[in-house]
């Protein structure tokens, strides 16, 4: 069993779909951070079978709700003084711009220069985002 030490202060991004941690890592630009970051891949999970976890030491100034757009099962724990200070419920934003990209080859975003990739939340329960241009649903990998 792999052991990673607990955090004194930081953020634990849990319940990431197995294999998805590096996407989140890249999106949050964690490679640019100076602090310790632990990526745990394929951790055992009762709920999910396998999951990924990211532990980040220190404070991170980003809109964590965006993580729900990338993977709606994600949970975020804010750690302070070695304890879970807050279990953050991610609230899906109504609109996201340049976070996810439209993959529809027939969409105008595939050819128009400098056009922002914008998505609208069309089904909050199922977490469905649709491209504002072609209305194709964003498929999480």
């Amino acid at each position: 069993m792999l052991n990673i030490g607990g955090l004194n202060q930081g953020i634990v991004i849990d319940h990431i779909e197995a294999g998805g941690a590096m996407n989140i890592y890249s999106y949050l630009n964690l490679e640019k951070l100076d602090c310790s970051v632990a990526i745990i891949k394929n951790a055992k999970s009762n709920k999910m079978g396998k999951k990924d976890i990211i532990k980040i030491e220190g404070t991170l100034d980003i809109d964590l709700d965006i993580l729900g757009v990338l993977d709606r099962n994600i949970t975020v724990n804010i750690i302070d003084d070695g304890m879970i200070k807050e279990k953050r419920n991610l609230k899906l934003p109504e609109k996201v711009t340049n976070i996810i990209k439209c993959k529809n080859p027939r969409c105008i975003t595939s050819i128009e220069r400098d056009l922002p990739h914008s998505f609208r939340l069309t089904d909050r329960e199922k977490g469905v985002y649709r491209c504002i241009y072609c209305e194709q649903a964003f498929k999480r990998v």
Partner: protein, 304 residues
């Protein structure tokens, strides 16, 4: 300033305004012969579409306006790599209104955000074709007398047919609408339409593969083409294609006042013997396409 990008851009009351005006134009076209004098319509067609472009141009000419434009991307600056945003900014200074057909989905929406003139979506890929929806609604309203209390059959390719999706979206806003969806398994309506439109609005519908059986229940039958290339294998196509062809024999099962609509072009999905049946209104529907575009142009140019 208003654009028409999606059929749902218009409220039910705005839609009524356009359909009522189209009805008045049908009654007395001469009255409107000069209302757009001095105005120019630019038809920006990045892919060929004879009927849609000609119906827009006929509409503007009928209103006394003039037309300019291009009918393929090759003859426009798009072939030099110009963006939609730049093209529309330039065209805005040449014309008073424009109709855009583009192979990429969402192109007219991009145009509308940079345009200083009204933009009408004349078809964007497999996505929207709102003026076809307006044409369908005008046909139903004028020939059936109402847009509510209807049982509407859609037959053929319900998966890829954008005219079907747009019309379903537009009709769910009216009272007591029922749908009968007639298609092979492979060409059933997409899941999102079933879940986000029909189920979400609690619209009653049934799905079937047999046209004859449901014919007696229908007030309207909207036919679409089943294309060979949509099937996964040739055997399925041969097995299924005749089930979705409307002929005089199948028309015998229909109500005396049921109407047959088709967005055209028709290939073989409606036998030519049906054309002489008074219930076959698809050529009338094409004619209404000009009137409804006249009404739309007048509303967007605020001359009505």
């Amino acid at each position: 300033m208003k654009h028409l990008i999606s059929p749902l851009d218009l409220t039910v009351s705005e839609l009524k305004g356009i359909l009522d005006l189209a009805g008045e134009i049908i009654q007395d076209p001469k009255k409107y012969a000069n209302v757009c004098q001095g105005k120019k319509l630019a038809t920006l067609f990045y892919e060929p579409s004879t009927r849609t472009r000609l119906s827009f141009e006929a509409a503007m000419l009928n209103l006394g306006g003039s037309i300019l434009g291009f009918s393929s991307a090759d003859s426009s600056s798009a072939s030099k790599g110009e963006s939609v945003a730049d093209t529309i900014r330039v065209i805005s200074s040449y014309a008073d209104i424009c109709a855009m057909r583009h192979p990429k989905e969402g192109a007219p929406l991009v145009a509308s955000s940079y345009s200083s003139i009204p933009v009408i979506n004349a078809g964007d890929g497999g996505h929207n074709h709102p003026t076809q929806t307006l044409t369908d609604l005008l046909t139903i309203k004028n020939l059936k007398g109402r847009l509510d209390n209807l049982t509407i059959g859609f037959c053929g390719d319900l998966k890829f047919g954008r005219t079907v999706h747009s019309l379903i979206n537009a009709l769910v806003r009216y009272e007591n609408i029922k749908f009968v969806l007639i298609s092979p398994e492979e060409l059933k309506i997409p899941a999102y339409l079933r879940e986000e439109v029909l189920d979400a609005n609690k619209i009653p519908y049934e799905e079937t593969k047999l046209l004859e059986q449901v014919m007696p229940n229908l007030d309207l039958l909207y036919m679409t083409r089943v294309q060979r290339e949509r099937f996964f294998n040739e055997e399925d196509y041969i097995r299924l294609k005749d089930s979705f062809i409307l002929d005089a024999k199948k028309m015998e099962f229909a109500k005396k006042d049921m109407l047959v609509l088709h967005p055209l072009p028709r290939v073989n999905e409606i036998a030519t013997e049906v054309d002489s049946d008074p219930r076959a209104v698809y050529f009338k529907q094409a004619e209404y396409g000009v009137y409804v575009r006249m009404a739309l142009i007048m509303k967007l140019l605020e001359v009505a």
